[in-house]
């Protein structure tokens, strides 16, 4: 069963633990350029949202890659994978990604893109507020539906 990363901005506290976990997992240190997830914050309103690779089925980064370094994962994986040994560093994937979630890291001289930490994303593990979930296909919107279902329950209980 394949999984996907779900983002709940309403739960995000803007703490950047996801970025720290990502950098540490990939590099063993804390370096802003090494992280594959980025949190944006509107300070006046106190709103934050973390963004990372959406693992597109029809991925612009895959389509433009001239060497196959950026490629779809095995059937059923739902992942866009990246092979460093095939990469020539042309950065077309960076230019193509409409979400800005593929970056070139000039320090590591490598493309930096979410690889879900091999199926155990550390951003999710270290998020203290449940703003990130890594969930099975069948469960992907369950917690969001649960919130709505809870509201329905309250309303209908009030009506009855």
């Amino acid at each position: 069963m394949s999984k996907m990363l779900m983002i709940y901005p309403n739960k995000c506290t803007g703490c950047h633990n996801c970025e720290l976990a990502c950098s540490f997992e990939h590099e063993g240190s804390f370096r802003p350029g090494a992280t594959r997830v980025h949190t944006f914050t509107w300070e006046r309103e106190g709103f934050s949202v973390p963004l990372m690779c959406q693992q597109c089925d029809d991925a612009a980064c895959v389509n433009v890659c001239p060497t196959g370094a950026m490629h779809q994962g095995p059937a059923g994986s739902n992942l866009v994978e990246f092979s460093q040994d095939l990469c020539i560093g042309c950065k077309l994937c960076v230019i193509a990604c409409p979400f800005g979630s593929v970056r070139y890291d000039s320090v590591a001289k490598s493309i930096a893109k979410c690889d879900t930490c091999g199926g155990a994303p550390q951003c999710v593990a270290m998020c203290p507020s449940g703003a990130l979930e890594f969930v099975e296909d069948a469960e992907q919107t369950r917690s969001r539906k649960q919130v709505i279902a809870d509201k329905f329950k309250t309303i209908f209980e009030d009506v009855n």
Partner: protein, 600 residues
Amino acid sequence: MNGWTGTTLRVDLGRGTITREPTNMKVAHDYIGARGMGVKIISDEVDPHADALGPDNKLIFAPGPLTGTFAPSAGRYNVVTKSPLNGVIAGSNSGGVFGPELKFAGYDALIIEGQAKKPVFLWIKDDVVEIRDASSLWGMTVADTTEALREKTEPDAKVACIGPAGENLSLIASIMNEMHRAAGRTGVGAVMGSKKLKAIAVVGTGAITVADPVAFKAAVMDSRDKIHANPVGGAGLKAYGTDVLVNILNQSGALPVNNYQDAYSPVADKIGGESLAANQLVRPKGCFACVISCGRATKVTNPLYAGVGEGPEYESAWAFGVDSGIDNLDAIIKANYLCNEYGLDTISMGATIACAMELYELGLLTKKDTDGLDLSFGNVASMVEMVRKTGVGEGFGKRLAAGSYRLAESVGRADLSMTVKKQEMPAYDPRGVQGIGLNYATNNRGGCHVRGYTIAVEVLGQGAPTDPHATEGKAALGVAFQDLTSALDSTGSCLFATFGIGGAELASMLSALTGVEYSVDDFMKAGARVFNLERLWNLKVGYTAADDTLPPRILTEPIKTGPSKGEVNHLEEMLPEYYSLRGWDENGVPTPAKLAELSL
């Protein structure tokens, strides 16, 4: 080099020079960083008799070794300087994301010296450091300054700045970062204003490396688990923020009311964290690397006080609330927003208003003094207007801007200023909680709760149970909390991490991160070293044992109502034991043996 960056940045605004120097690693090991490193630098480089608002004072911004890592809730920086409010070696720390960014830019400490002739801001992007013109920013509020600087520099710049209060050298001015986070206490904003330094904007892209990544991760996860498992650190603070303390302190009979005339309020519930969560809370917020999320993104829709922002904290809600006779949470939040915009310490601002209200009711201040404002306790509109006047430095606000001690002294009633060493005591009445009184009296920055938060044990049930009305054991408790906090502040950690972890966990994370082995004893000793060095400096300023005291009201006027009715603070029962445990003589001076033990 792990944990520390190994580089200190020195900027002389008078000469316009920028120099990079290697961080003194002996100092880093002995004083850890942040508060400790700042205290050591000020102690070595600033004359205790220097004018706090003159060119010879220095202003240090220092993150700690844990800052910028995922050590839980350890993303803070400390500001250290000579306080213009009371002359002590002062400081204040703040969360947000500014401290980590300074660290990523490559600096263990930023030392600001001299004074610029015209308003300037400092732009730091890694090795690029520029002193730039800030004429167009002078006079701007904090949020506007932050946004304007991002246009002048980069959209992701992290900004620490002062508002109009700091520019006007208000002695209760704060330094703000990320618009809502404050290095609030001891008037650090005025020092920044005196240097004509409007702001610091930083972008950092460097790495913080780890000596033993496996051990560090294990130590971090252990600390996270312990904080999550703690009822306060794991759930209480996220659900209700620090404002949850209103009802808790009220039920303990230690919620000061009307400038400490009483310590219990029948209407406290209206301004507590539960009320805030039900009415104005939008969502919890966390500083960098936080796992607790006590921050409050709030919104007020009441047209009289409408706005969006962050806060209030418990102490702010108390100061603008029941200490000023006010139970209107919308107005309290508005006052809090104004403090964030103008760059004012909410505790000292609110407590100064409370003092002004008592002086007004006694006829010592009249409408002639107050620009026509009725300052009776409970006057909501006057309370909010006084914050605005202080923020912009207008009329009666100019007197309030100097804090309650100078205001009360100017009418011959310094005894009605609820201050220790001229700094306003926060929201815990020492008559209802004995140990916190000892901490206020002996705290190196004057009336302050966070640098010796015995409340955690005396009221919040952390550690071994103790009666808040008892004095036994409070001297040892005070020493332990002051030393732990001195060390903790020096790592860059947040005090609230202690709702779950202590010296052992902090020492373990610090050791794995830096590769320098700190035992719990080493760690606590570093804390004692920092605390004693601050004490030595304050003695050189001219403070004596006679200043280790509390306002006469706290020592002689019993609480009138509530659970602590009839209580006063018995400082005299605790102080001699405290001196003795500290290794200080009867004059409060550290003994040569103590200094030798701490390598001072």
